[in-house]
Symmetry: D2
Subunit: 142 residues, 4 copies
Amino acid sequence: MSDFDWPVRVYYEDTDSGGVVYHANYLKFMERARSEWLRARGIRQDALRAECGVIFAVSHAELAYLRPARFDQALRVGVQVLQARRASVHLAQDIHLQDETQDNNKGTLLARGRVTVVCIDAQTFRPRAFPDHVRREILGDR
Amino acid sequence: MSDFDWPVRVYYEDTDSGGVVYHANYLKFMERARSEWLRARGIRQDALRAECGVIFAVSHAELAYLRPARFDQALRVGVQVLQARRASVHLAQDIHLQDETQDNNKGTLLARGRVTVVCIDAQTFRPRAFPDHVRREILGDR
Amino acid sequence: MSDFDWPVRVYYEDTDSGGVVYHANYLKFMERARSEWLRARGIRQDALRAECGVIFAVSHAELAYLRPARFDQALRVGVQVLQARRASVHLAQDIHLQDETQDNNKGTLLARGRVTVVCIDAQTFRPRAFPDHVRREILGDR
Amino acid sequence: MSDFDWPVRVYYEDTDSGGVVYHANYLKFMERARSEWLRARGIRQDALRAECGVIFAVSHAELAYLRPARFDQALRVGVQVLQARRASVHLAQDIHLQDETQDNNKGTLLARGRVTVVCIDAQTFRPRAFPDHVRREILGDR
């Protein structure tokens, strides 16, 4: 089970002429969920950049596509901390079809996502330790 | 007739589940053509930003979609200067289906595009006059 | 004032290296708002396609970009019917910065959008009259 | 070394406000390279769909991001067959910075990509064996 779930609606922009969500767009959905997961913990990425000079970057991503998602479907994108380090965090981000007939009840698993996010200096792009309050929030999720 | 044409191939990323190119993506194709039009005239946008502190931004865009473009088709995107001012340029950017059976021969008109591009300060986003060498190249196309 | 407003959060996927929302992405935001406007009126586009064989396509779009939107900002995208015809509807879709300090209070106008949407046959792409229940809902918004 | 390389120019549409190519867009670049790799071997994906009723879908993707790519840079995206099966093919798709000062000379490695592509029925989305001529071309690359 995920620590956090974010709803994503599939619009035309997300689909391709195969009739399903274009495979690269799952990475976008996963980043939306990460941004909202941080926001829910009081972490504003624009403030982090302005005040601490750090941004988050994806250093590794892996996706297993199990079943296609289609136009107008409602998805749920999870965020679960698998491992947190000084300057990086490894996350599970599975994507489920939302069963709209039942409240908050997750349906079929569509894709398994794994992402490593690194905290980097916004100028030099070198790894930087997570600011303390960020680290506390992230560790709190393990 | 356009001053400049740039070929664009339609990939899955460009299409939607309607089976055709997603309407917003024509704006991407038009910007690719503008970037290559500038490059063909020796104008490097990354150098312009680093050396002159200016970037180009779209201030107005208009698109009439006449016929759909499909996966795997070859398109040609035009760039034609309609009017050049001190800090902006108004361009026609029509999009044709490339007839791949005939060399360089334009086929059906798919979309009519009109775009106004403004030269702005990369920091303040305020309009700035085009650098002289840019202006010369742009005016040379009228 | 718009008949309908839809909130859009700006994520990294929406921005470009100019530091602001990439201009083509406003068209995506506008389509999300149209899809949710239809959904709020009980119109499911996937059902329309399956049951009536029609889809909606953009035939004309116009955008005036007034002020840039930035990463992490909250926007509101409007939908207002300007004119409804047998097989098409002309919409105003202005985009405002959401003032997050005040409840539901619209802030600065960022972009003015105008879009014409046509009801077309999903196979032939020829214009088809809006199904009656769609037309009633759309006209109800004038 | 790759069996096939495809040049990709970085435009504004590809970047994000971090100043670099948005991580999901590498998957787009990789699909462009696969499409052109197939085209170079005489395989037209639109014809395959029309005549054989099959399309290609990504079932697994993995990306290691080593160094960022920036606006206006020229990249080269490789396609190398690692393993071919009856209905799927596993590919290495590394992305290099193109050294524009030297002809065709690959520069720095930016990202390592691995993708599994499955041949599926365009209607049922069930795996189907590659058509013979496709299989011959793909195996020819091992």
